[in-house]
């Protein structure tokens, strides 16, 4: 056989080997990723870090569209909205009076007890630049990272309710694992019954409550809050309300519509104790939160 005659089969075999080689690399990478290999995780954060500025720019029109849609919507419901806000204002004014009285009373009692107050959490507000994942992985990318003192494990809230936790941190980006993701486990408490449960993500929009006693009188509509056990999440953050309570399973509806989260607040309660001192924090990106536990303080009447 001539050299020219050999060239074609050699090329075909070469291509086949290249294909099988890449398949093998893909499988090897999957197994290494599964084992959470350090180098791969670093590569991932580097890629995400490099991409987030682009996503940041690309997501601005989406945000503008969202804002435009909201202003059109509010134009049409302005009357009803005004009515609702008046009512709410009247209700909140009553609460404010009561809160002032309680504040004074609390201060007096604390002074009598020499109570050491809990430190108010610092919060970093970041934009959600990508809603990644899809059916198999539920996470968000935000445009704040280690440079803005975002740390792994910090709780992420939006509109006062829990969204998830920080799972990966790059220099200027971070990945938020949503509470609906399969890997999400949040120690929680059912407000009405006091049952301690774990809110377990199951990749559906409705996470389930696990480790709930079968005799527990939990019913649909009960609020579920973080319990603070395990030291990862601060206690008292709203997670959601019980959506379905049957013999077979108890699921909750997250309090924030996760698809509509456009801004995320990363709460730093210093639970992991490895954070820099407050004076090292940049003033711009770390404004203290007014209320020590915003979720617990909200709507005490319910």
């Amino acid at each position: 056989m001539s050299v020219a005659g050999l060239a074609v089969p050699v090329r075909v075999w070469g291509q086949r080997f290249a294909f099988l080689g890449l398949l093998a690399i893909a499988f090897a990478l999957m197994l290494l990723s599964k084992a959470e290999t350090d180098a791969l995780e670093r590569a991932r954060t580097a890629i995400v870090d490099a991409t987030v500025p682009v996503l940041d720019v690309m997501s601005r029109p989406v945000e503008a569209g969202r804002a435009a849609a909201q202003s059109v919507e509010s134009f049409f419901i302005v009357r009803a909205e005004n009515e609702r806000l008046r009512e709410e204002n009247a209700r909140l004014l009553r609460w404010m009076l009561m809160a002032r009285q309680l504040e004074v009373e609390n201060a007096t009692l604390r002074a009598q007890l020499d109570f050491v107050p809990e430190a108010a959490p610092r919060a970093i507000t970041a934009r959600v630049v990508a809603d990644t994942g899809g059916a198999f992985f539920h996470s968000l990318l935000i445009n704040a990272g280690a440079q803005q003192f975002v740390r792994r494990g910090q709780a992420v809230v939006s509109h006062g309710a829990l969204v998830g936790r920080v799972a990966e941190v790059g220099e200027r980006s971070a990945r938020v694992l949503l509470l609906t993701d399969l890997n999400s486990r949040i120690p929680a408490i059912v407000e009405s019954t006091g049952d301690r449960v774990i809110v377990t993500g199951n990749n559906t929009p409705w996470p389930s409550l696990t480790y709930l006693a079968s005799s527990s009188p939990v019913s649909a509509g009960d609020r579920v809050l973080t319990s603070g056990h395990g030291g990862v999440f601060p206690p008292g953050l709203v997670i959601g309300v019980v959506a379905e309570a049957s013999e077979a399973r108890v699921t909750i509806q997250p309090a924030v519509p996760l698809a509509r989260v456009s801004e995320a607040r990363i709460l730093d309660y210093g639970v992991n104790g490895i954070l820099p001192a407050p004076e090292d924090m940049p003033a711009r990106s770390a404004a203290p939160v007014a209320a020590p536990a915003p979720a617990a303080a909200a709507e005490p009447g319910r």
Binding site: L23, T51, V62, N203
Partner: protein, 174 residues
């Protein structure tokens, strides 16, 4: 700069259009649209680009590029590295093999080809994700996503066709 070098720069930028459009579609697919449940059922935009370019310009969508693009998507979506890369490699191999039945045929045949590729890719992704995460992934949203992917294909294919006409051209080596 001489005319020849400007020409070669232009030629080079033409050649990266398939890679660029695929990456652009990956990024577009991640935008946080305020539609409830949309991320779960979002159409697989990058798959459309891979399919399109492998059929029309396989020389500009080589195996290594498909693999790299898959790895990039994995990094972004938080999937184990290699998952999407593997799916795209298999799609690339399959489409390249069946290419002669798709090139120069009416659009509906091209579309039908995609309607065969999508469920296979979705089933493979579902299986791999279920194995890697050690739990059965939801099936309903995957089905809806698959249908949406096939339904949305003509729109993306139309856009890519215009990209090809204006920027790339249809000259292809055998």
């Amino acid at each position: 700069m001489s005319g020849a070098s400007i020409g070669s720069v232009l030629d080079y930028s033409r050649r990266v259009v398939p890679a660029f459009t695929t990456i652009l579609l990956i990024l577009l697919a991640q935008l946080p649209l305020p539609i409830p449940f949309f991320p779960d059922v979002a159409p697989a935009l990058p798959l459309m680009a891979v399919y399109y370019w492998v059929v029309f310009r396989p020389d500009l969508m080589p195996r290594l590029l498909v693999f790299a693009v898959g790895l990039f998507q994995d990094a972004l979506i938080g999937a184990p590295f290699g998952l999407t890369a593997l799916i795209y490699l298999l799609v690339h191999a399959f489409v390249l093999n069946q290419r002669r039945f798709l090139v120069g045929k009416p659009f509906w045949i091209f579309w039908s080809g995609f309607a065969i590729v999508t469920p296979v890719a979705a089933l493979l992704t579902w299986t791999l994700a279920s194995v890697l995460r050690a739990a059965a992934m939801p099936t309903d949203v995957v089905l809806v996503g698959m249908v949406l992917t096939v339904v949305c294909f003509p729109v993306v294919a139309w856009a890519l066709l215009h990209c090809q006409r204006w920027l790339v051209g249809s000259a292809q080596p055998s």
